[in-house]
Symmetry: C2
Subunit: 88 residues, 2 copies
């Protein structure tokens, strides 16, 4: 397979938006501060990422599948922290 | 044009992850509380969304173009709030 510019850009996008959640997950895990995270945002985002993952599979886009599979996990963690620490 | 299942799922994904940011932007605007938002997350996410937008244009995906164009704006607003209110 030759070098695919589309997939190179898609992969860059995938890596950035995927690793973007890591400092957020780390910060939330470390501080247990979820006060400024919006619960509706996390719920809508979670369902949306599941659909993006399916769309990526349908479009045969490796970048979308990779990014959204990992982002699903990050979003589940943030949702868990929000529900756990948001009660306090 | 007939009904396109792929684009229907992509459009659903686009709508959900786009409107997901609205309660976050509203909450942040209302409370001016940015303490639990991660600045590195916002910066990486912003650059990543720009690349997703380019990727969407390259793939001719209406859903990706629509979603990422609006999410760029939401992310700029959150970055602005974080930089403005994070100083205090």
């Amino acid at each position: 397979m030759g070098f695919d510019v589309n997939e190179a850009i898609g992969f860059g996008a995938a890596v950035l938006t995927t690793i973007a959640f890591l400092p957020q997950v780390y910060k939330t895990w470390k501080t247990k501060d979820v006060s400024s995270l919006s619960l509706p945002m996390l719920i809508l985002f979670f369902i949306g990422i599941i659909l993006w993952l399916i769309y990526g599979v349908l479009l045969h886009s490796p970048s979308m599948i990779f990014a959204n599979a990992i982002t699903v996990i990050s979003t589940i963690l943030l949702l868990y922290y929000k529900l756990k620490y948001g009660k306090q």
